[in-house]
Symmetry: C2
Subunit: 336 residues, 2 copies
DNA sequence: GGGGCCAATGTAAACGTTTTCATGGCGGAA
DNA sequence: TTCCGCCATGAAAACGTTTACATTGGCCCC
């Protein structure tokens, strides 16, 4: 392996000068600098991150702890985070697919000591979890988390508000028999979406609501769709807790020849890029996913820069109802 | 920050013993071990990766250099890589969205010295590129790359074979006027898919082929679909170089009230999870994306373990045609 | 012409960990 | 009882880099 010493020897200077020439830029004659740069290029020298981190106490990396990587939601989220991280010269470590709290804890521990900060999005973060498994000195930002944990800032989407708005929209369209396809009960955002729906329909005269289980996957939406069709009384409108389930549900309806929105209206949540290309295009609640990732990273960077500003504040990113054809509105291609 | 010295003091042993107790496991009395573990837990000690890497000369991390993170393809790929990496106790660094060769080179350099190996999937990797920007001593695996570069193993999907098979299938179904929606010309896989299509239709009597530009996005598929409908003579069948474009194209057809497959058949490539939930379900070429990521990582791990086995071999992962309703076959829900 | 100052470069310590080698103590065998 | 050997533990070096501090040399100003 070629080290800074090799470069120093090759350029006939000391290692300190090499370091200065390659990093700071200060206090080096132009000639020396080019001599060093030439030598470094010739030897294909690349500084060892570990050694640098050890002395600077910075890894220039942040970690993202994610629940799972299925579907477009997470590719969008990671994209947003990655882009923002690049802008700050930070590397991105991802870790996902933690089945239970134990695995999450293990992943959390493994990441510490390798990153300058952590973006945590996991259903397993319960009160006390972080206090137990996360070093006090490591900045972290919670994304979409229920728990008002310690000193961590949180960033959530307005799942509750979005679900209320969408439910209101469905009611305004005249739908009275509503069905809700739930996300995984472990997820805070899924619970919030359900709550928004439930509270909006509660006590409305002539409005009925039914609930079907789901786990955010297309497959579970498909099954829910079939179950709805098989039921004695079909709903007027179905609200799925995310777009992937809405798409699965739509597939079941299409397969059975049930017209959407003619016979049953349908709405989703997230506005993944694919939603507008469905047939019919999917009415949904837009979450600016990439922006969410971006905002979370920016918050984390702030936290790293000034750890003393350690406020357990909560940022809520607004959602907006995007009306397309699937809910019985006139076909609307706006925003395409 | 709490270091190994703090733990050593707390447990009244030397740092060497702490290191042994926490890592190796060898040569430590049970009592000492528990005392050390208790102390470590109490102090919430977590070893500093940088220091460890410096002496062991291993980072326990691998880097993935990706072109872009749009859509389900990449979330599937990252998922496959992440899962396999976890199984090996490796961390995953991702870097994406490199507009040009310069950015790719910068990302490549930045990753060296931080990882034990590299998974490279980028259209900008041309002959000589790696020789110039990649240290000889860093194991790397090329995914979906054209260039038979140096000592790097490569893993590709059988894009050519898959495209041939799908084109053959469309011809066998009786379609004669074919259209192909191309992927970005810079991508090797996109070129291979085009080549498979072009060579299969070449010289077939009574068969016409037309080509439309695309860039793998739903949006570009949508535009291509509209262009096809506006043309003087519509094709019998459209073959899109990936599923996202096929979905965009399908959306354009649906919007215009054009029946698929009745009036125009449609096929895609990749078999992203969403494909089977389209209306109609999408005939496509299945690429086991997560498995591809898994295989690439395994190959890389092998390369890291025994760098001397440095063969510039090529692994080709087979594809398979998945017939669903969109190509004019009877509706087939198999594999759902 | 000499002294002082500043800019360029060098020397060496420090970062936290692993690991090699040394050391001490204890048990068992003679 | 004595000696040998082994096992648990400790001391210290090493990893590659940055950076505070030291040193050199040249220039300007008096």
């Amino acid at each position: 392996m070629v080290t800074i010493k090799d470069v120093a020897r090759e350029a006939r200077v000391s290692v300190a000068t090499v370091s200065r020439a390659l990093n700071g830029g200060a206090r080096v004659t132009p000639e020396t600098r080019t001599r060093i740069e030439r030598a470094a290029a010739r030897l294909r020298y690349v500084p060892l991150g570990a050694a640098r981190s050890l002395v600077t106490r910075r890894t220039q990396a942040i970690g993202a702890l994610l629940p799972d990587l299925f579907g477009e939601f997470f590719s969008e989220l990671i994209r947003g985070i990655d882009l923002a991280a690049r802008a700050h010269g930070l590397h991105l470590l991802v870790s996902s697919s933690h089945g239970d709290a134990g695995e999450t804890a293990a992943a959390l521990r493994a990441m510490q000591g390798r990153v300058d900060g952590l973006l945590i999005m996991s259903p397993h973060v319960e009160p006390g979890f972080l206090r137990k498994h996360l070093s006090d000195s490591l900045p972290a930002v919670l994304v979409g988390s229920a728990s008002r944990e310690r000193r961590c800032p949180r960033i959530n989407t307005d799942d509750y508000g979005g679900a209320c708005a969408m439910t209101g929209h469905l009611l305004a369209k005249g739908h009275r028999a509503l069905a809700f396809i739930e996300g995984p009960a472990a997820n805070f955002d899924a619970r919030e979406r359900r709550r928004g729906f439930a509270e909006t329909v509660a006590g409305r005269r002539g409005v009925t609501a039914s609930y079907l289980q789901g786990d955010y996957s297309e497959e579970s939406g498909f099954r829910a769709g079939r179950a709805l069709l098989a039921a004695r009384k079909r709903p007027d409108a179905v609200f799925a807790a995310n777009d992937m389930m809405a798409i699965g549900c739509l597939s079941a309806f299409n397969e059975a020849g049930v017209n959407v929105p003619g016979e049953i209206a349908l709405a989703g949540f997230d506005d993944i890029p694919m939603a507008r290309y469905m047939h019919p295009p999917l009415t949904t609640v837009r979450v600016r996913i990439a922006e969410l990732g971006h905002a979370a990273l920016e918050r984390l960077v702030g936290q790293i820069a000034t750890p003393e500003t350690t406020a357990a504040d909560l940022t809520t990113v607004p959602c907006e109802v995007v009306v397309r054809a699937s809910c019985g509105a006139r076909t609307d291609t706006a925003g395409r």
